[in-house]
């Protein structure tokens, strides 16, 4: 007899993850090129009389950056879990429905055509042209893929994936064109964007991004039961009383909003959406009522830790966090797969 899988009870695991996130947050606030004590962090947060550089580092740099890392990590983790459940494929990720490539095209277009095309817009929302454009492009790309994948009110997953591949290729070709016409400085800037970074995080980014991600995080528990049913197949989910087409629409919209918002301020950060849900499934099981919040928490923990590491390893310079995730996540994921192969 095959032993019962070694699953941890859900509630304590969620509490543990929350604790980890808080510990990670404290670590992130304390460490960096400028190490701070807990007391200094406290002063930086609440004491208007504290030293200007401490105030700046804690309140204007690390705090928004920490919150953004949490939100972006949660958005990536939960979107990975949602899409993997919907597509019934453990390898699905937001890139499949064009969110990343759309955002990349938008961001790169702003970097390269920047002053010429977007100058007027930048006057109204200084410094926010890039994230706004990336966000809008992510949503548009997803909408196009969704329209192609839907016929007469029905959405076919296979068609959706094929449309995704084609539209992604077109968007990446657009990125290629932009890369080709970019000058030296723009080339460097766009390369950095594709490696992902939270170094630029400020409160305005947070204001742009947090409503969408928080909305998705709040709405996510409502989909858990239907997603569990979908694990048995779309037909069975229908038989059990779940409107699967509505579910698909909701998930795609939620992922486009959350990941589009995340990517628009952080650049491309891979692997969180893959690793976080996968780890949770291994330890806590596949029930989406646990999987979704746990993936969000774990994604947040992973990104907070990776971002802290990114600040430290080449200090006072910074390492791109997207690279960091891929460098750590890739081998880790491989190790997981290798360990499971003999079964």
């Amino acid at each position: 007899m095959v032993p019962v899988t070694g699953r941890l009870p859900a509630r304590p695991a969620l509490v543990l993850l929350t604790g980890l996130l808080l510990a990670g947050a404290l670590l992130a606030l304390r460490t960096g090129p400028m190490p701070l004590s807990v007391a200094e962090v406290w002063q930086g947060l609440f004491d208007r009389q504290a030293e200007a550089s401490v105030q700046l580092v804690v309140r204007e740099l690390r705090l928004p950056r920490l919150l953004l890392a949490m939100l972006v990590g949660a958005a990536l983790g939960v979107s990975g879990a949602l899409l993997q459940g919907l597509f019934r494929n453990p390898l699905a990720d937001p890139g499949l429905i064009g969110i990343s490539s759309g955002a990349a095209l938008g961001a790169v277009a702003v970097i390269v055509l920047g002053e010429r095309v977007f100058a007027h817009w930048d006057m109204t929302v200084p410094g926010m042209t890039l994230p706004l454009t990336a966000f809008v492009c992510a949503l548009l790309t997803t909408a196009v893929i969704w329209r192609i994948g839907s016929r007469q009110g029905e959405t076919h997953v296979a068609m959706l994936l094929l449309a995704g591949i084609a539209i992604n290729a077109i968007a990446m070709a657009g990125v290629g064109v932009m890369t080709f016409i970019a000058d030296d400085g723009q080339l460097r800037t766009l390369t950095f964007w594709t490696m992902g970074s939270l170094a630029q995080a400020d409160w305005r980014d947070l204001r742009l991004v947090s409503p969408w991600i928080v909305l998705v995080l709040l709405a996510m528990p409502l989909l858990a039961r239907a997603l569990n049913a979908v694990l048995l197949g779309e037909s069975v989910a229908l038989h059990l009383g779940h409107d699967v087409d509505r579910l698909k629409r909701r998930i795609v919209v939620m992922c486009a909003l959350a990941v589009g918002a995340a990517v628009s301020v952080s650049g491309l950060i891979g692997f969180v959406g893959l690793v976080a849900p996968h780890l949770v499934r291994l330890t806590l099981g596949v029930d989406h009522r646990t999987l979704l919040p746990a993936s969000a928490l774990l994604g947040a923990v992973l990104l907070v830790l990776a971002d802290t590491g990114a600040r430290l390893i080449v200090a006072p310079a910074e390492f791109p966090i997207g690279l960091m995730m891929a460098l750590l996540g890739g081998p880790f994921f491989l190790a997981l797969l290798m360990r499971r192969l003999p079964e």
Partner: protein, 278 residues
Amino acid sequence: MIRLMVALSVLLLALPVSAQQRLVVAGGAVTEMVYALGAEAQLVAVDDTSLWPPEARALPRVGYVRDLPVEGIVSLRPDKVLVAEGEAGPPRTLRQLERVTEVVPISAALSPAGVIARARQVAAETGQVEAGDALVASLEAAFERIQARLPLADPPKVLCLLSAGAHGVRLAGQDTKAQALLDSLGLPNAVTGQRGYRPLSSEALLALAPDMIIVAETRPGEFQPEDWPALQMTPAGRDGRILVADSMLLLGFGPRLPDAMAQVLDVASGQGGVAWSR
């Protein structure tokens, strides 16, 4: 009262030390200027493009000039951050830095006059008034010596190449620092009607038929002439009018601009250059 006196004298004694300001520089040409002024003791960190003079490489680095880290710089507690205008960024980082330290944009220079203005500005910001006057004087003298050799009777048509690591070899069109260098010597650019840097092809090399080629390398030995057999078939290749030099020297528009101009002029007037037909 005595206590106050002691405190005051301590303060006075401390003044020369505190006058030694802590400086972070983003921009290779600005770093060169700081060294040329003998103010290198003020430097606490520089960016990745600050590779000259070789001593600068030993300083702590804050990353690429266009991708400066706020916290990394703040942690160094600089009194002043000198940033090359138009290069250092991103703008958001600079705005945040301004809240805790003085961020001084050093004006972009694309001509001998610009370099002199830059020298004056850096001298003022580092408090090196005398050294600044001396540097300006020597720069002016050097530019005058070069001006005396101009204009050339038969100015060659020059192709400028930038050999930059993974980006490969690209040719320089209008709106580039290479164009500015040529302009300062009154030399025509072989590339016309193109803006910025464009990938180089062997066919383009032949079609442009430059009389002279300048190769700016981001690292010594990066440009491999063997990769470009078409080079030898251009007028420049046949006459050996090829100059290969460091990109920060040629295109940095720092205190070494007179050297760069002199080297280009030597090759342009047929007094030097490298024949690559080995």
